[in-house]
Amino acid sequence: MRREAPRAAVWFGLALVAGMSTHATVSAADGPPQTVAEAVAIAAELAKATGTSGQAALAAQADRIAGISADWIVPCLAAFADATPAGGNWLRSGIERAVERAGDSLSADALTAVVAERKQPARVRTLAFGWLKDRDPSRAAGLLDGMLDDPALDLRREAVEKKLVAVTAAGETAQKATHRECLAAARDVDQIERIAAWLSEHGEKVNVAEVLGFVRNWRVSEEFDNAKGVGFAKAYPPEAALPARPETGQWKDVASADKHGAIDLNAAIATKKGVLAYAVADVVMPRSGPAEVRIGSPCAVAVWVNGKPAMAHEIYHASEAIDQYVATADFREGTNTVMVKCCQNEQTEPWAADWKFQLRVCDPLGAPLATQPAHEKGPE
């Protein structure tokens, strides 16, 4: 799952730079706004849209945005900074119609400035990049050269792709260096795996689980009853006294050798149905503060960080993916305890056999943050 970078505290202020007020009165009249300030105010109003009633009025306001001149498009983008989920789409529906109308009269210079300003929300820069690419592909491609560490992950992905393509004609040494650089920059799992595969084919072994930062060393509990799903909401001893103390009771050390850091509970405990187990790991964080706990599992899962619940998903065998469920939790600098409750149901289909999970702790862009204590290093 890809996550957008947190919004910059200081929002890109083209509207303010242009000396405009975002508090202009929004006219109820039909037709395009009469001033850029009015256009910006309409955009801000659209971006705040919530609820299900009164959508005809929002559609009318989106029509007004669709009618703005090319020069007013970029100032209106500022409204995306605080957009609600619905508001973002309302505003986008109007703005993109304006962009279509504008054609080549939409300034490539203005779009380039938007793309280059990293303090803007990733989705705005990505939109602007797409519009620039439609108008001047080579200029857009040129912008990618400095984007390997870009907080807009779609742009970073394109930058990685461009760099990999550009080096294909170079010698093997240069190609390896570029692939290593791109491996460090990439955040999308498919891209990381492609780069790792290339490096492995060329003699440089890459541990994908380590690159992705999966927590691979756990202490796993004995099994507990989950017949008819009763165990998901039941607090068995490991969660009855939090944080769990894996020194007491029946626990075993389990290390993952899987390239995606999966802890296979069928292998660790037994292939069973209607059961659940807990897994506890110590992770070391470089600093205190919020971080994203990202777990993937085909089973129902719950996660605690330092004894506090972080998330719970009672979903069985509806797919599985890296970073399937994401929650933000508070960590302290140094050692933290993460506990997972992983529940297997009683489905008998072959595709419902898996009882496993994988977990990592990341920043909002997907860079792994947690390490494990030296004595809990994962398998090489």
Binding site: M1, T52, A59, N89, R157
Partner: protein, 400 residues
Amino acid sequence: MTTRRLLMVVSVMLWCVAAVAADWPEFLGPRGRGAATDQAIRTRWSEADGIAWKVDLPGRGASSPIVVGDLVVVTASSGASQDQLHIIAFDKATGRTVWHRRFWATGRTLAHPTSAVAAGTPASDGKRIVALYSSCDLFCVDLAGRLLWQRNLAVEHPRSGNDVGMGSSPRIVDGTAVVQIDCQGDAFALGVDAATGEDRWIVPREKRASWSSPLPLTTPEHGVCVLLQNPRGLNLHRVSDGKTVWSWKGECSAIPMTTESGSMLHVPADGIACVSPTEADAKPAWKSTKLSCGIASPLAWGDSVACINRAGVLCIGDTANGQLRGQIRLAGSFWASPILAGNVILAANKEGKTFLISTDGEPKIIAENELPGTFTATPAVADGNVYLRSETVLWKVAAP
């Protein structure tokens, strides 16, 4: 024929006449019956022959194209997270893009590789188009591509969604847009005023995944309704207020959806069960395990019902008693549902081969037409043209 059945037949006929004959406005065509019996189509085509136009799509999808007036409308999703949602309208005659709307997904966008975020087929009432994505985002645009309203259902119901990929297609029935969100979390069916996007009704559903779509159904007793299916049975809801007016408990498939002909329902289960939508929990009139559905939904027309099983065998049975009339082995796997054009069945396999099968007497393969790509979307037929959508390409096969 009883008076009740006569009324039902007349009602359905009137509805069909009301629909624009040349449109294919929703999943499985007018009223979701999968039949265009008045349209003759070309027998043979290939990349080099019989193609009016083809266009690359801006993303991937498993949704079917729909045809509304001069437009062919397709949905897709793109981006590394598949969170860019597209509705694209092409000029039916030329394939030129008339408009292209993009939105951000507001719900989850995980989907199994065989499915897609754009898996549900959009629906149109001739004035507007509604599109539902696996992210539980429901958008309504007019025929000029102007956003009329949206519902971010995963925001409203945070535990809705299915990471396999929601595949249910919306319907517009009697001015109400109906969506079926069947999943293990917040499961519900919703009737939305198609003009405003506001709720007309919402009914909770069992927390159980299914990939079935609502089926419009009019009965003499209850008027205009939609039939909803999940693995535990069927529920008929009055479209005006969502009230459950009939239920049937029994095993149903999770993916292929029930079809209807002659006032009887043909329910994909372990085979096909023939059920009357008037008697609550009635014993099926017949059940045939020889008529087995894999992923594709069954097709009913006249006194025949056809289905394609997991082995790729097309079976045709008698709707009166379920007896097998004939069968023929096709090839490949079938995710797209069979449809009827004229008196020919079109069955498009995943590997790109579309079989044309005769329906007179013992089924026979008339032609096998191959196009490149992966095809899980059910074809559309309008004005004798066939629209085939691979994962990333839309093809128009010219009328004969």
